[in-house]
Symmetry: C2
Subunit: 251 residues, 2 copies
């Protein structure tokens, strides 16, 4: 099925793969409608132009692009800074001009643990229709596969880097988890994965269940939930270049 066409431009939110297409093909993680929607667009707002072009190359191999890639218009989101509402509005207005615009993050679902929310907020302000398309999210896949509480959960983003502040945050989140029966989720820069796991197994109570979901949708993916007591006994060698989601639920 293709999305119905409209007179006015819309903002389409297109998820992208979590791992390289060479490792996991697009058809493993994107519905045909998402692939077709991407192949029909030629105006983009993207987190990273290089990965966006690689993604569109993979889309083209399945569903030929309606306009050759060299004629696509791409605006790159500013790095390491939130777009202020006025700039987001200006950026979206230019891109739209009565045509559909696609929003792409570097990997996974746009706006979830990723930039882009300011663009979507601008779309609502302009009364532009926002269409979210289905695709992979490591947060959602990791939570599904954790066996932890999925009826009440919070995504905390990154924890503090500094050890003392990080440990205090882990303790506070565990207290909240116990009080609310709420799963706590967070991510970390891959090279710090092993340090975060070690900190969690040290700081959390031994009956708390702790999940590591690593490299989801990729060939080396695994999801492992154990009590902290079991983690202390068994441990695990964390890969330092593969993204991971961490989750825990006080026992």
């Amino acid at each position: 099925m293709d999305l119905p066409k409209t007179q006015e431009g819309r903002l389409l939110l297109i998820p992208t793969p979590l791992v390289e297409v060479a490792q996991t093909p697009l058809t493993a993680v994107l519905p045909q409608t998402t692939i077709n929607a991407a192949s029909a667009l030629h105006h983009w707002i993207v987190e990273n132009a290089k990965t966006a072009r690689a993604f569109l190359g993979a889309v083209h191999a399945i569903s030929p692009l309606s306009v050759p890639l060299q004629h696509h218009v791409m605006t790159v989101l500013p790095k390491h800074s939130q777009l202020d509402p006025a700039s987001a509005l200006a950026l979206l207005k230019t891109a739209l001009n009565a045509q559909d615009v696609g929003l792409l993050s570097e990997a996974g679902a746009p706006c979830i643990a990723d930039p882009g929310a300011a663009i979507v907020a601008a779309a609502h302000e302009l009364g532009v229709t926002v269409v979210p398309l289905v695709g992979p999210s490591s947060i959602l896949l990791g939570l599904m596969a954790s066996g932890l509480e999925g009826q009440r959960f919070a995504f905390q983003g990154y924890l503090p880097v500094q050890a003392e502040a990080r440990d205090a945050t882990i303790r506070a989140l565990e207290g909240e988890s116990a009080q609310r029966h709420q799963t706590q989720l967070c991510i970390e820069t891959p090279y710090r994965n092993a340090a975060l796991l070690l900190a969690m197994t040290r700081v959390l109570q031994r009956t708390t269940r702790l999940t590591v979901a690593c490299g989801l949708t990729g060939p080396q993916s695994f999801v492992r939930t154990r009590t902290v007591e079991q983690w202390r006994r068994e441990g695990i060698a964390m890969p330092d270049k593969i993204p991971a989601l961490f989750g825990f639920l006080a026992g």
Copy 2:
């Protein structure tokens, strides 16, 4: 791509459509790999046998079932109660017996705002590999399309039904949202959608941004984010039979 085969039974988490297949075909919301994985299974743990069979009928139309539907073995999860760990373990052990088992919720991603987490927890306890597959989740799609904060968010499930307790909860969640810059998400039984929206527009601060995401992936879907002040002025007729996700972020 098909999932690689294994010697030991795995637990496959298969998302299902959010709306009827007559309204939105499977290929709009499920990657080919998810559809193929479903068509290869014949042992299931499901939330609802009727919707599971309808889903498998739709799967068969795209990717023929490896075993005729009448020979599939389905165990239905207990209604309105959490499965205790021992029962979940017994149930999963019987289902597995060295073959892959699929877990299906009634709509959307298994274990997210849905039962099934006890089965996944049992799988981790048995050392069974858990494989989450990609598909639609109204929480994820609604958050993506909200333009609210996606780097920090919490899903609160259902709010209290009783008006005074509900309003107090809305106020408390708004305070937390302001303090943490965290998006608050919740759902409601469809016939109470209008009442919840009214309560939120009444109780929340006028600068708080409030999102309603309704009937996602379906033909009547819409996502609308406005400040509470705008909601008060403009209002909206909420459909009373279509599921909605509500979200807000203190301004």
